[in-house]
């Protein structure tokens, strides 16, 4: 069943290993202005970035945890016990040969170099706080496509970087975007020149290797007029005894007529707090599409958004969340219509297993002065056990005439009869469950790139094997 083209690490056990730490740069435990200065010094930040970080810290400290609407489990994060910056202190390498052995071995075990050879236009591999490897196929680079880490982007392309950085997601958007703004490190910076269509996906792989650690990558993708790009990210971490924090900020800018597709398949260990802010800006006739698969983690809070700012802009979120025993997937989408004739589509499917909990939060906003906007929202939940839980919080504000919104939601349960029927054909209970779940997500997964859909199926099977017994 293991495919040659596996796009992301999928086997929970496959990611559950780590090598001894080799960090030369370490900001120590806890968060203060000193931490910020340490990071800014090590990274040789320009002054405006240092100030930006300090404002981020201030905002983070001022804002309360959003527990008035979000899970109280957030209180389990002890921000004073986390290490905010760890790196080997070397520049990202352009060839795997130059990457330090332990780190290279990690990514080899995760199959990254192999996938790069097979079907990717470029790869960035981040290990804890910094990219250790970053490379783009020559032909793609020659088209003027920039694909580097956020630090390199900031250093080598300051005019594009500064123009868009923090513009889609301001510091004060939420407590965790503020935290990221304070301590961000790593992530990708991508620029696609006008009219360039990048055929193969660019991939980033985020790996947490250290305990008591927080990973805060910052990704900024700008697709200039009429260009197209697909970006894929995969994430894993070993299972440590203490919680790990992952809090990224991802900003996408699709200029007139551009298309950005952003694909995430996360497979976090079950004690990772995954609190991510993702938002795209779509100008006239542009399209931003998020494909978001949330598997693993202790608590995920993530609501990919699209602001449709230009006429005829399109936004789409296709998401799958699988909440296993002890996990809470609090996910959804936000569609902000800000111009006439904009259209958005949300399809969300969640699966809750054992005592797992899946929450859908959606926001669709169409103001009064707009004409001919359309939104379609479909939101389906599947409950595997009687103890499984799902909640849906859709917020739809649509004003004005000639705007159309459609919302469909369903909750279904895998019935005893259905499982018995499948067992009667020879499938074990776990196989029957995973086939049911795969059937439930099937129409959505079919829209994913092939490499991802196969791996996702495999991952669902592994999750189900562990949950029936």
């Amino acid at each position: 069943m293991k495919t040659e083209n596996s796009a992301v690490d999928i086997d929970r056990n496959k990611g559950d290993f780590f090598y001894p730490e080799v960090h030369v740069r370490d900001a120590g435990v806890g968060l203060s202005e000193r931490t910020i200065h340490y990071i800014a010094d090590v990274k040789d930040d320009p002054d405006w970035v240092r100030e930006y970080r300090l404002r981020g810290l201030k905002t983070f400290l001022e804002k309360p945890l959003p527990t008035h609407w979000a899970s109280k489990d957030l209180e389990a994060i002890d921000f004073n016990k986390i290490r905010y910056y760890l790196s080997p202190g070397t520049e990202p390498k352009r060839s795997w040969e130059e990457v330090p052995d332990d780190i290279k071995r990690t990514f080899e075990r995760l199959g990254i170099p192999e996938q790069e050879r097979k079907f990717l236009a470029g790869v960035e591999a981040q290990f804890d706080s910094e990219a250790v490897y970053s490379n783009i196929k020559k032909a793609v680079g020659e088209q003027g496509v920039i694909f580097v880490g956020s630090r390199e982007g900031l250093k080598n392309y300051p005019e594009i970087f500064r123009k868009w950085f923090g513009k889609v997601i301001p510091i004060a958007d939420n407590k965790f975007s503020a935290l990221n703004s304070a301590v961000f490190s790593g992530g990708s910076f991508i620029y696609v020149p006008p009219g360039v269509k990048v055929k193969h996906p660019l991939q980033a792989y985020f790996r947490i290797n250290a305990e008591n650690f927080g990973q805060f990558e910052r990704t900024l993708i700008i697709a200039d007029e009429g260009s197209e790009v697909t970006y894929m990210e995969g994430c894993t971490a070993p299972k440590f005894n203490t919680p790990t924090l992952h809090s990224a900020v991802v900003e996408l800018v699709a200029l007139k007529g551009a298309k950005i597709q952003y694909i995430t398949v996360q497979n976090w260990a079950s004690n990772v707090f995954n609190l991510v802010t993702k938002r795209g800006l779509a100008q006239e006739n542009a399209e931003v599409k998020w494909i978001d698969c949330n598997i693993g983690s202790r608590l995920t809070m993530k609501y990919p958004s699209v602001i449709m700012k230009g006429r005829k802009a399109r936004g789409e979120v296709l998401s799958i969340a699988l909440a296993n025993d002890g996990q809470h997937q609090d996910t959804g989408a936000k569609m902000i219509h800000a111009a006439d004739e904009t259209t958005s589509n949300i399809v969300s499917k969640s699966i809750s297993i054992g005592k797992g909990r899946a929450t859908y939060r959606g926001l669709v906003h169409v103001p009064k002065h707009l004409k001919n906007c359309k939104n379609n929202t479909e939101c389906d939940a599947l409950l595997i056990n009687a103890t499984s839980r799902t909640d849906t919080y859709p917020a739809i504000t649509v004003r004005g005439t000639g705007n159309a919104v459609q919302h469909e939601a369903s909750v279904s349960q895998v019935s005893t009869e259905q499982i018995f029927y499948m067992q009667q054909r020879g499938l074990t209970e776990a196989q029957a469950m995973s086939l049911s779940v795969n059937g439930f997500v099937n129409d959505l997964v079919r829209q994913f790139p092939m490499e991802y859909s196969v791996e996702l199926k495999r991952l669902i099977e592994l999750e189900m094997e562990g949950s029936v017994g």
């Binding site: 005893t416 018995f420 029927y421 499948m422 067992q423 020879g426 029957a432 059937g439 099937n442 129409d443």
Partner: protein, 254 residues
């Protein structure tokens, strides 16, 4: 020893005893019809043979080729060669017939074994043709939005693909018009042979015109009250279940 052997079986749901001391043997190579009025316990028997978790076997034995079935999970029974064509097959949304059957066949292979895709599809199309099913059917989700006739055909298609040693057909004729009935019967007849034992559960004699049984048993109130050759079905049709019940002696078989 090559038989499905049910001995003095008692089955309860909650406090209610539904099957009360039923004895029946279906040797491989034979077709046995089990007839009875509504509520006689026929479908309960079918589900218990397959291992449905809602029913409790309070006494008696079931064995297949000498192996105790009651010790086995439903899927283990299936993989060892027991097939149940359901009276009301479940829908499996999003799972195509082709994928479902492939998973079912795959589950019978040893660990690491892979199904040969070309052979699989060749066989699938051949069996579909036998049952008068269009090839486009393979990409439809199992039983989802199927008519009664389509569901029953799909059951027989699965039976043809999985090649069981024993098949229990639970009211496979119900809800079928005469043309569909003929097609399904043709499918079942083509599977008959020395390696397959069939227990054909039905309410009506009609099906037995098309699938001619070797033996007929009449079940009333959880027991077999009469057994005989195929002529018994005709006699039953003429005289009704009251006759069968009134004339009942102790459960007798051969």
């Amino acid at each position: 020893m090559n038989e499905l052997n049910i001995e003095r079986l008692h089955i309860a749901v909650g406090d209610q005893e539904i099957v009360r001391g039923l004895t029946l043997r279906v040797p491989r190579g034979e077709v046995h019809a089990l007839m009875g009025p509504n509520g006689s316990g026929k479908s309960t028997l079918a589900k218990v043979l397959a291992g449905h978790p809602d029913y409790r076997v309070t006494a008696g034995k079931i064995s297949m080729d000498g192996e105790d079935l009651l010790e086995l999970e439903p899927d283990e029974r299936a993989r060892r060669g027991l097939f149940l064509a359901f009276q009301y097959p479940s829908e499996i949304p999003g799972v195509t017939i082709a994928n479902f059957l492939r998973a079912a066949l795959q589950s019978r292979l040893p660990e690491g074994g892979e199904l040969e895709a070309t052979d699989y599809y060749a066989k699938l199309y051949e069996k579909m043709e036998l049952l008068g099913m269009d090839r486009s059917f393979t990409s439809r989700a199992v039983n989802e939005g199927f008519s009664g006739g389509e569901k029953k055909r799909t059951e027989i298609l699965q039976m043809a693909m999985l090649e069981p040693k024993y098949a229990v057909l639970d009211e496979t004729d119900s809800g079928l018009d005469i043309d569909a009935l003929k097609t399904v019967a043709h499918g079942v007849n083509s599977l008959r042979g020395p390696n397959l034992g069939i227990l054909l559960i039905t309410h009506y004699q009609r099906l037995l015109n098309y699938i001619v049984p070797d033996h007929v048993h009449v079940m009333v109130a959880g027991r077999i009250v009469r057994s005989g050759r195929k002529e018994l079905a005709l006699e039953l049709e003429e005289r009704g279940y009251d006759w069968a019940r009134d004339g009942a002696t102790e459960p007798a078989y051969r």
